[in-house]
Amino acid sequence: MSVATYSPEERFRLGMLWTDSRYRSTTIQTIALFLVMLLGAYLINNIITNLADLGKDFSFGFLFEPAYYDINQRLIEYDSRSPHWLAAVVGILNTLLVAVLGCALATVIGVIAGVLRLSKNWVISKLMAVYIEVVRNVPLLLQILLLYAVFIELLPRPRGSEPMLDGFLVATNRGFYIPSLVLAETGWIVVSTFVVSLVGIFLFRRWARKRQEETGQIIRVFSISLGILIVPTAIVFFALGSPISLEYPELKGFNYQGGIHLRNSLVALWLALSIYTGAFIGEIVRSGIQAINKGQTEAAYALGLRPNRTMKLVILPQALRVIIPPLISQYLNLTKNSSLAIAVGYMDVTGTLGGITLNQTGREMECVLLLMAFYLTVSLLISAVMNKYNQSVKLKER
């Protein structure tokens, strides 16, 4: 019989760095660290040599020089003598504008498509399947360009155009016009009343929920919220003699004046992004609803819940847990895809900072770095929010 011998001190040999699993991972990591540092040093060295060869320095001073170019769709004051950084900010706001509009419309389209896709109605579910399959399998850039081209080619010129929807929308080949809000001097009172009632609704809902949890008494939250939303604002609005009015676009000469001018590039980008992302959201919603076990519905019925409370209290909370994470990553995709604006000339941040500013100043390195930093910040922020949400809805397993 053999006896296991215990050898207290095994001498360390150099070969053990690789053959002994106690040391191997340290060895590998040291080598990797060394290689990464070597690569980094090599790249930085190349950059320095190349910049020196071209006679360029690495500085962000150019941001404070005048930009000398115009941006036709903007949310804040900007003219061609404004500095480059302001152009970048205009671009960032434009990106955020199309991203927010796109996310909202894509969600609406996606939820409708996803629910109808599951409908028992054969025709409508097949129609939605065709929509989802076609849109998901065709490049987004192509859809944006197609929509933009269709707007420019097929919409009438301003002179020949007819206002639609009672004057609320004018579609021309130069863009879309919608009425703008004009605030009279006392208009801000109405706006602040509205904001206050929003806060009021929030507080009321919290109070109502707390009360229900304590006493079991159910308060009709929806109708009261609706009342709070409308009544005070309406009273203030009429008491002050309608200080907020709409300014309609009017045809003057060859073009429309007044109202809000949405350029074709913005509308094409917005619609194409929404339709494209909507198809993906549709699939997410469908799979989310299908992921809920049928037993959940049956159990809720067995407990005596009515169908819409079953939906609200049992199905939706569980479906949302499946739906929300991929939904948010679709929002993120939409934001990143909005950089395709450059193809139709909508001045988002890629068009200003990564486009004209880059070409005018020749500062590729700084511009691309700033551009990437912006997108990275947005995505990391959204990922952080998503992780927080995932933590909060995670199944609490016992």
Partner: protein, 375 residues
């Protein structure tokens, strides 16, 4: 004895079952069940039918009945038919759409390369193919063959400059290269992210999160304007190659996340069992973990492939002549000025065919592979 004569009638055999009521089977019931089961459903059906009746005939009329297939310019098209689609532009520029500006007398080379690509894909996609082993060997050397065929080697095959590449040829080159290199790279990144070596993990996480955080277009800007700064002075290499590298890196980060999902979905017992058998890390990954994890992540992997294939169109933004890049000069050309929809629809159909085929193939693969673990 009972008197049988007082019983009027006794059935000797069971009666034949009557057919089910017409409202519960057959087309009528199907219609009722699926189209008109509730007022809302009826309304939806009627709305969709109106939509279809309005859409389909007009579309057919435009695309087929009134369409012009051969003409020399848009004016000829409009003379022949003022309302229909002018597909003549596609027929006239078909070669450009396919090959870009690839020299005309050498076009047999990309065609041969494409045929060989199909041969090389056979053993990968279909396991009942005869002589699969030998074909796999061919698939392994195919990239080299394709490179020599497409770019030429300067001796046997005349060299072709990268700037002549274009059209669907370019799309397929970028798509196929990206797809075939991003999968292995993605697997390595995913394993790195799951590794228990903190430094390796940090490298992989940083890379993945960085690539996923920025739009592809900024990476293409890097490829077109910035990459020269990172190289030793004086070196410059081909724009297509730079784009290929960027697209592959981009897709591999997304692939890594998809595969990480598959790795996470795998039962922990599988890892432990592999360790208990005394397998080394790579053995356990290759024999136990990856085959199962990849199977779980097939839908995600194919979705990444489809996304990559669609994203190849972005190279037109940095000036490469992919199909969307080919369209721009045609739009500006006075012979065809005014034709827009036809061009985009044609390119869209091409992409749809490829991507749809890919998604169907992934469904087939899922079905085929899922037979093993039905509980």
């Amino acid at each position: 004895m009972t008197d049988n004569s007082s019983i009027a009638f006794v059935m000797k055999e069971a009666k034949e079952a009557m057919p089910a009521p017409i409202t519960t089977t057959g087309p009528l019931a199907w219609t009722r069940e699926n189209l008109f089961s509730s007022p809302l459903n009826t309304a939806l059906t009627i709305l969709s039918l109106i939509f279809l009746a309005w859409m389909v005939p007009g579309l057919v009329q435009w695309a087929f009945v009134d369409a012009v297939w051969v003409a020399g310019s848009i004016d000829e098209c409009r003379q022949l038919s003022s309302e229909g689609a002018c597909w003549a532009v596609i027929t006239a520029r078909f070669d450009q759409f396919m090959f870009g500006f690839y020299p005309e007398d050498l076009r047999w080379r990309p065609i041969l390369a494409f045929v060989l690509l199909c041969v090389a894909l056979l053993p990968v996609l279909w396991d009942a193919v005869p002589a699969r082993k030998q074909l796999f060997a061919f698939s392994a050397v195919y990239p080299l063959v394709a490179f020599v065929l497409l770019w030429g080697d300067g001796w046997v095959f005349q060299s072709v400059s990268s700037s002549d590449f274009g059209g669907f040829l370019l799309t397929i080159i970028i798509g196929v290269t990206g797809i075939s290199f991003s999968l292995p790279l993605g697997i390595l990144l995913a394993l790195g992210r799951n590794s228990n070596m903190p430094f390796i993990k940090i490298i992989c996480v940083t890379f993945i999160e960085f690539i996923r955080g920025v739009p592809l277009i900024t990476l293409l800007f890097v490829a077109s304007t910035l990459l020269n700064y990172f190289l030793p002075p004086g070196t410059s290499f081909d724009l297509i190659l730079r784009v290929l590298i960027m697209v592959t890196l981009f897709a591999s980060a997304y692939m890594a996340e998809v595969i990480r999902g598959g790795l996470a979905a795998l039962n922990k017992g599988q890892y432990e069992a592999a360790d208990a058998l005394g397998l080394t890390y790579w053995q356990s990954m290759y024999l136990i973990v990856l085959p199962q994890a990849l199977k779980i992540s097939i839908p995600g992997i194919v979705n990444t492939f489809i996304g990559l294939f669609k994203d190849t169109t972005l190279v037109s933004v940095i000036g490469l002549l992919d199909p969307l890049g080919i369209i721009q000069p045609i739009l500006a050309d006075s012979t065809w000025n005014g034709l827009v929809v036809e061009l985009y629809v044609f390119v869209g159909l091409f992409f749809f065919a490829f991507c749809f085929a890919m998604s169907r193939y992934s469904m087939y693969l899922e079905r085929k592979l899922s037979t093993g673990d039905r509980h």
